[in-house]
C-alpha cells in the first residue's frame, strides 16, 4: 500500500491507501459504514443495501487537472442522484462520501426495518445474541418500532442440519450469501448454495456428505446473524459469559491463532472449560480462518480418559504414585543410566517444555541424545538459511509470485496454507504442485508435476539445472555470499529437465515460495530434498525477502521449536538404531507410529513417558507422567514459518497433570539442577538468553499487538464475533541467515537416492487431517468425518489382485497383518499402496515396506 488517495468523508479530508474498499477506508478512520453482506475478505456483492451512502467525486477540470471550485472556494462535488452502496466502491483521489445525513440515516432505518420483518427476533435464545451484527446495528440504527404487522411474519424451519457440524436456522438467515461466497470463492468447495428465490431464498447444502469442506466452521463466524451455528457450541453458553483466552492450535504447523471461549461450567466440575474455539485475527498467519480440526478438535483437553495421576508399573499393574515419588524415581533412574538415556520430544511440546527437557537431559551428560518425534522431516540448518522471508503475507501474494508445493498433500497436512495458496492462485499467483500422486491442490493450477516416488529430489535438481541453463541465477548473491556453488554447478551439469514448463513457471516469477513436505521420502531423502529446495532458492536469489523462501510442512505444531532448541530427527533415527537403555519420552507416541520404535521400546530397560492419554507408547512405560494439554497451561509454539507465538491457560486443571516444563525442572532439581523456574515466562527468558534466534522474544514482546488491516477484530458493530480481536499477540518471527547481508549461504549437491523397491507393492504412508490420533479422537463431534481405515490401491494393481473399490482386504507387511478396506480411485501410483497414518489403531508399517494385499472373500 504505497500510493495514497485523498478522500472526503463527512466533510473531513482523509488520506487512505488508494484503491481500497470505501467501507474499509472509512473504518480506518473510525467512521462506521454499517454492512451485513460485505466482508473485507470477499468480493463485494451489494446485496443487503445497508451501506447506502451519499457518494460523489470532486469535479476536475479536464484541461488543467485542477478541481473545479465553487464561489466560496470549496471544490465542486458531482453527486450521484441516488444513494450508492459504499461496499461496491473503491476509493480514489476525489472520492466524496457522506455517511450520516438524514437521507442516509433514513435509508439505513428502512433497510433494517425490512430485514427485521423476516427475522424472528428470538435474540433471547439465539447463540449469536450478544455478538450479533444484526442485533448491534438494530440497536445503533434501527427504527425502534416496526410498522410491519407481526402476524405477517414468515416462519421457517429453525433446526436444519447442514451436515452434522453446522446447523441452519432458516428464519434467522438474512440472505447475505457470506457463507455461500466463502465456500464458493475462498475455498472453492461446491457445498453450499441458494435454493429458490425471493423471500423463499434459502441456504442448502448440495454436497454428499453434506457441507463437505474442511473449513465449514468459518461460515458461522462470518454469518452476521445466528443463522449458522456449530453443533459444538449451539445452546452452549451466551457470548457475554465467555472469557476469551488467546491460544494456538496444537494440530499442525500453520499455528493458527485461536481464541478459546471459556466459562466456569458445571459440565466440567465447576472449573473453567473451553466452550468453543474461534479463530483469532493474525493477518500474518491464519488471517481470520481456521480449519474444522482446529475448531472442533479441542475436546481432548477435557476427555474423560485423560491421565490424571503419575503412575508406576509394579508387577504388571499400574499403581498411582504422587509427584514427589515420580520425580525421585525418575531422577534416580537418570542418575543410574546417565548418558545411556535417550530423550524424545513430541510435536506438541512447547518451547518451554523443550528447553527444560534439554536442561534435564544435559544434567545426565555433556552430549545428551535429544530426538524429535515424528522423525519424518529434517532440515533445521536449511530453514535457518533460507526459511520464508520475515513478514510474508500469503494473502497479498499475486501474479508476481510462484508457489511450489512439493511432496505434500497440503489440504490434509496444513489446511490454512492450502486455503491461502488456493486464494493466491485465484489472484494470479503461479502455483506448481509436485507430488507422486494427485492431491486436491492440483485443481487450482495447470502446472502439475507427477513424479515417481523417490524422484522428488531429482525434480528440484532439474529445476536448479534449468535455472542455470536459462541463466536465471542471481549473480549478486552467487558472487558475494554463496559457498559451494562450483560443486553444485558441476553436479547439475547434464541434468535432464523433464518438467521444463513447471521449472519455467518458477524461474520467471519475481518471488518464489517453496512448501516442502515429506510424503514418500525417507529422512535421508528429505534432508536432500530440503537442500535441493535451498539450492534452487539460493541460486535464483529467492531468499531473504518477504514472500520468498522455504516453508517446511512439519509433521506437527512445534517441530520447528524442537529443532530450534536442539532436538533432531537424526538423533531419533540413531536412538532407534542404537537404542538407549532408558527412554525419556515427552508428548510423543512412537509406538503407534512406527513398528520398529514399538519394538525397541518394548526391549528398553526403563521407559518414562509424559502423555495425555494411555497411548501405545505410554502402555510400554515404567512411569507415566500426566502432562497438561495445551489448554491448561501457558507456553509458546514456533510455527512452520518460524513465528513464535504464545498461548495462554484457558482451562481448569485435570487431575494432577502438570505442564511438561514443570515436571522436567522438578526432576532436574533432584539431579542437582537449578531451582525450578516459577513460570513459563521465566523459562522463555532463559531461552531468549541462550538461543540466539529467540533473543528478545520475551513474553511481553510476543504478546505485542498492532492494528491489522483489514480490521475485522475490532470493536465494530458489524463484523461480529467477539473472538476475532487479537489480545494475545501477533508473535515474533525469527530472521534467517539470508536476511542478514553479512551471512554466508551454503549450497551443495543434493544426492538422489532412489528407494530400494523391496517388492511389487510398497507402502507409502500419507497424512490425513482427520485421523484417530490421540489429540483428535476424543472429539466425538468429528467422528463422522474420520474415514474408516482404508488403503488406496492403484487400479492396475487392484485389477491384478481382483480387488474392487470398497472390498475388504488383508494386508501383510512384515510382521504386521491388518484387515482393512481397499479404495481404488485412481490416486495411487502403480506399485504403491497409500497408507493413511493413524487411521487404524495398531502398528504402522514403515515407508516403502513391501506388502501383499489379498481380498477377503465374503
Amino acid at each position: 500500500m504505497t500510493k495514497t488517495a485523498t478522500i472526503m468523508i463527512d466533510d473531513q479530508t482523509y488520506q487512505v491507501p488508494d484503491g481500497i474498499n470505501l467501507v474499509d477506508a472509512a473504518k480506518l478512520h473510525g467512521i462506521t459504514i454499517p454492512v451485513f453482506c460485505y466482508h473485507p475478505k470477499m468480493e463485494s456483492v451489494g446485496m443487503c443495501r445497508m451501506c447506502l451512502v451519499e457518494l460523489g467525486s470532486i469535479s476536475v477540470n479536464r484541461d488543467t487537472g485542477e478541481p473545479d471550485l465553487n464561489d466560496d472556494g470549496s471544490p465542486v462535488v458531482r453527486w450521484f442522484p441516488k444513494l450508492q452502496t459504499a461496499c461496491t466502491q473503491t476509493v480514489r483521489d476525489g472520492t466524496v462520501v457522506r455517511t450520516s445525513t438524514a437521507q442516509v440515516l433514513e435509508a439505513r432505518d428502512n433497510i433494517l426495518e425490512f430485514i427485521l420483518t423476516s427475522h424472528p427476533l428470538d435474540c433471547p435464545i439465539c447463540d449469536k445474541g450478544g455478538e450479533c451484527p444484526l442485533q448491534n446495528l438494530t440497536m445503533a440504527y434501527g427504527p425502534g418500532r416496526s410498522n410491519f404487522i407481526y402476524d405477517d411474519k414468515l416462519h421457517l424451519d429453525k433446526h436444519v442440519p447442514l451436515g452434522e457440524l453446522i446447523y441452519l436456522d432458516r428464519e434467522r438467515c438474512i440472505q447475505c450469501a457470506r457463507c455461500t461466497r466463502f465456500c464458493d470463492e475462498l475455498v472453492g468447495d461446491d457445498v453450499l448454495a441458494f435454493h429458490e428465490r425471493g423471500r423463499s431464498l434459502q441456504i442448502v447444502t448440495i454436497s454428499d456428505p453434506p457441507f463437505d469442506t474442511k473449513f465449514s466452521g468459518n461460515t458461522t463466524d462470518i454469518c452476521p446473524v445466528g443463522a449458522l451455528t456449530t453443533a459444538d457450541f449451539r445452546f452452549g453458553a451466551r457470548p457475554w459469559e465467555l472469557d476469551e483466552v488467546p491460544t494456538i492450535c496444537p494440530h499442525c504447523p500453520v499455528g493458527c491463532n485461536l481464541s478459546a471461549s471459556t466459562r466456569i461450567d458445571r459440565d466440567f466440575g465447576g472449573k473453567k472449560m473451553i466452550k468453543r474455539i474461534m479463530p483469532r485475527q493474525n493477518e500474518l498467519v491464519n488471517e481470520i480462518w481456521t480449519c474444522d480440526k482446529g475448531r472442533f478438535g479441542h475436546h481432548h483437553s477435557r476427555a474423560a480418559d485423560r491421565l490424571q495421576h503419575p503412575m508406576m508399573r509394579q508387577g504388571g499393574e499400574w499403581v498411582k504414585i504422587d509427584w514427589a515419588t515420580a520425580y525421585h524415581q525418575i531422577a534416580s533412574k537418570l542418575k543410574k543410566y546417565a548418558d545411556s538415556a535417550g530423550f524424545l520430544a513430541g510435536p506438541t511440546l512447547s518451547n518451554e517444555d523443550l528447553w527444560e527437557l534439554r536442561q534435564l537431559a544435559e544434567l545426565t551428560g555433556d552430549t545428551p541424545r535429544l530426538g524429535v518425534w515424528p522423525a519424518a522431516m529434517t532440515g533445521a540448518g536449511v530453514v535457518a538459511q533460507v526459511g520464508i522471508g520475515v513478514n510474508t503475507r500469503l494473502q497479498d501474494v499475486g501474479p508476481e509470485t510462484a508457489i511450489l508445493v512439493i511432496a505434500s498433500d497440503l489440504e490434509e497436512e496444513a489446511p490454512i496454507w492450502w486455503l491461502q495458496i488456493k486464494q493466491a492462485a485465484d489472484r494470479g499467483a503461479a502455483v506448481v504442485v509436485a507430488n507422486a500422486r494427485e492431491t486436491k491442490l492440483d485443481r487450482v493450477t495447470h502446472t502439475v508435476v507427477h513424479y515417481d516416488y523417490g524422484d522428488a529430489v531429482a525434480v528440484l535438481n532439474s529445476f536448479a539445472a534449468r535455472a542455470r541453463s536459462r541463466r536465471k541465477t542471481s549473480k549478486a548473491l552467487l558472487d558475494n555470499r554463496v559457498d559451494g556453488y562450483d560443486d553444485l554447478a558441476a553436479g547439475l551439469k547434464g541434468t535432464r529437465v523433464p518438467f521444463a514448463d513447471a521449472a519455467d513457471v518458477l524461474l520467471d516469477a519475481e518471488n518464489v515460495i517453496v512448501f516442502a513436505g515429506a510424503e514418500g521420502l525417507t529422512l535421508d531423502q528429505h534432508r536432500e530434498l530440503m537442500q535441493a529446495a535451498a539450492n534452487l532458492l539460493i541460486i535464483t536469489g529467492h531468499v531473504g525477502r518477504q514472500n520468498n523462501g522455504l516453508v517446511p510442512v512439519w509433521p506437527g505444531a512445534n517441530v520447528q521449536g524442537a529443532l530450534d532448541i536442539g532436538f533432531s530427527p537424526e538423533t531419533t533415527a540413531s536412538l532407534i538404531d542404537e537404542p538407549p537403555a532408558m527412554w525419556f519420552i515427552g508428548g510423543a507416541d512412537p509406538a503407534a507410529d512406527d513398528s520398529q520404535a514399538a519394538h525397541v521400546l518394548a526391549n528398553a530397560e526403563f521407559v518414562v513417558v509424559g502423555a495425555q492419554f494411555m497411548t501405545a507408547t505410554a502402555a510400554q512405560a515404567d512411569i507415566i507422567l500426566p502432562r497438561q494439554s495445551f489448554a491448561e497451561r501457558e507456553g509458546t509454539y514456533t510455527n512452520g514459518m518460524r513465528r513464535v507465538q504464545r498461548f495462554y491457560a484457558a482451562q481448569g486443571p485435570v487431575g494432577d497433570a502438570l505442564p511438561d516444563w514443570t515436571i522436567y525442572a522438578q526432576i532436574g532439581a533432584r539431579l542437582k539442577g537449578p531451582k525450578p523456574p516459577v513460570s513459563a515466562a521465566a523459562v522463555m527468558r532463559a531461552i531468549t538468553q541462550h538461543v540466539p534466534r529467540y533473543a528478545g522474544m520475551g513474553y511481553s514482546s510476543l504478546a505485542h499487538v498492532e492494528a491489522q488491516f483489514p480490521d475485522v477484530g475490532g470493536d465494530d458493530l458489524y463484523y461480529g464475533g467477539t473472538a476475532y480481536a487479537n489480545h494475545g499477540g501477533l508473535g515474533v518471527q525469527w530472521a534467517t541467515d539470508a536476511e542478514d547481508d553479512s551471512a554466508r549461504l551454503v549450497v551443495r549437491p543434493a544426492q538422489i537416492e532412489k528407494p530400494e523397491k523391496s517388492g511389487d507393492l510398497c507402502i507409502v504412508p500419507v497424512r490425513l487431517l482427520y485421523d484417530r490420533g490421540p489429540l483428535f479422537e476424543p472429539s466425538d463431534i468429528m467422528h463422522q468425518r474420520v474415514p474408516e481405515p482404508y488403503l488406496e490401491l492403484n487400479s492396475q494393481d487392484a485389477a491384478h489382485l481382483s480387488i474392487a473399490d470398497g472390498d475388504r482386504v488383508m494386508v501383510t507387511a512384515g510382521e504386521i497383518q491388518i484387515e482393512t478396506a481397499a479404495r481404488v480411485n485412481g490416486h495411487a501410483p502403480e506399485g504403491v499402496v497409500l497408507w493413511p497414518r493413524r487411521l487404524a489403531h495398531g502398528p504402522a508399517p514403515a515407508l516403502f515396506s513391501a506388502c501383499s494385499v489379498q481380498k477377503i472373500e465374503e
Partner: protein
Amino acid sequence: MIHILLRDLEIPDIWQFDTYTANGGYDGLKKAVHDLSPAETIQIVMDSNLRGRGGAGFSTGRKWSFIPKDAETTYVVVNADESEPGTFKDRQLLEKNPHQVIEGAMLAAYAIQAAAVYVYCRGEFWDLAHALEDRIEEARQANLVGDDILGTGWDCDVHVHLGAGAYICGEESALLNSLQGLLGQPRVRPPFPAQMGGGLYYQPTVVNNVETLANVPWIIVNGADAYKKIGTPESPGTKIFCVSGHVAKPGNYEIPLGLTFRELIYDHAGGILNGKRLKAILPSGASGPVLKATDEVLDAPLTYESVAALGSTLGSASFILMDEDTDMVWAAAKMIHFFKDESCGKCTPCREGTYWLDKIYARLLRGEGTAHDLEMLEKVPNQIAGVTLCALGDFAVNPVLATLEHFRDEYEQYIHQPEFGPEPAQAL
C-alpha cells in the same frame, strides 16, 4: 402498412430458409461482411437511431460502440427471455420469422467481431428453442453461421440456451449469470456487460432484445435514412405492440412509432371488448406505471419520449387494457403478487418489500384492510424504490404508486366497505 418485423403476415412461410432468402433474407449479413467494416456496421445502426425494444429504449448502435476495440473475446447475447406480463412479440418473431432474428444477431456479432452468439430463451419456450436450433442449422449449412462465414475467415456460431423460467433472468446481468450456470441474480454494475469483466464469462458482451435485432437486417439493407423515415425522429422505426386484456382483437400489432394510443387501441385492435369503456392502460406490462385512460393519454403519440412524459414508460410495449369494471386494487394486488414471486431475493428492499406489500394486498382483498395498511402502501414503496440492486425493485412499486395516484378512491372503499370488490371478504 409496412411490416419490417412481422413479415409472416404477408409471407406465411418466411420461417423457411428458402422463403426467407427468396425475399431478401440474409442480404443484410452478406452486405455487411462483404462491403462494410464492423465499424461502418455500427455506424449505420447508430445513425438509424434504433432504440432497444426490450424496454429501456437505449440506442442500439451506441450500445455496440461501447465494446472495447481491443477486446480479445466478445459475445452477443440475444435476450429471448420475454417474460414481462403481456409481452408476446418475441415469441411470434422467433416462431414465424426466425431467420431474421438470426441474421440480426449475426450482424451484431459481425459489428463487434463476436466469438459466439447465445440465444437465451425463457424456459417455457422449449418447443420454440428446439425449432430455432433447426433454423440455425439451416443457416450453418448455408455458411451464414459457424466457421469461415461466407468465406471471410470469420468464425461465429450461434447457441440456444433455455432458462429455467425466472422473470429476473430477463434482466441482462441476471441473464448472463444464468447463462453461465450461476444463480439467476443481477450483478453489481459497473462493470456493465459491454465492459471488460461485466459480460458473459466476464468478457465484453452485447445483450440485445429479439425485436431489436430483427430490425437490423432491414436497416443494413435499406440504410439508416430509410429507417428514420418511419416513425418519429426520436423514436424511429416500427414497433410491435402486444395488445391484451379487455380488447376486441388482442394480438401483436406492428405499427410505426408515433401513432396515438387511440389509433392503436380503436383503429387496429378493435376497441374495448363488449363495447365497454376503457378505464386504464398498462403500456409496458406490469413493470410500468398504469395510465388512466383520459383523452390526454389516448391522444398522445406512442413514442418513448411521449409515454415517459405521461409518467409511464413504453417499455416492451405490452399493452394490457382494463375496462370500466376492473377493480384496480385487485389488479395491483395481482401485479404485486407477481413481483413478490419473481423477486430474486438478492437485495433486501425488493425481497422483503414485495413480501410486505403482498401481505397488505392480501389483507385488503380479504376485507381486513386498515388505515395503517393504506399508510404502508404509501410508505413501503418509497423504501424500495431507488435503493435496489436492479430495476425490478423500482418496477415492483409502480403498480402500487400509480394505482394509488389514479384510483385512490377504490382503495378507500376497500377499507371502509370491505364487501366491495370481486373477491368476497373471507375470514382467515
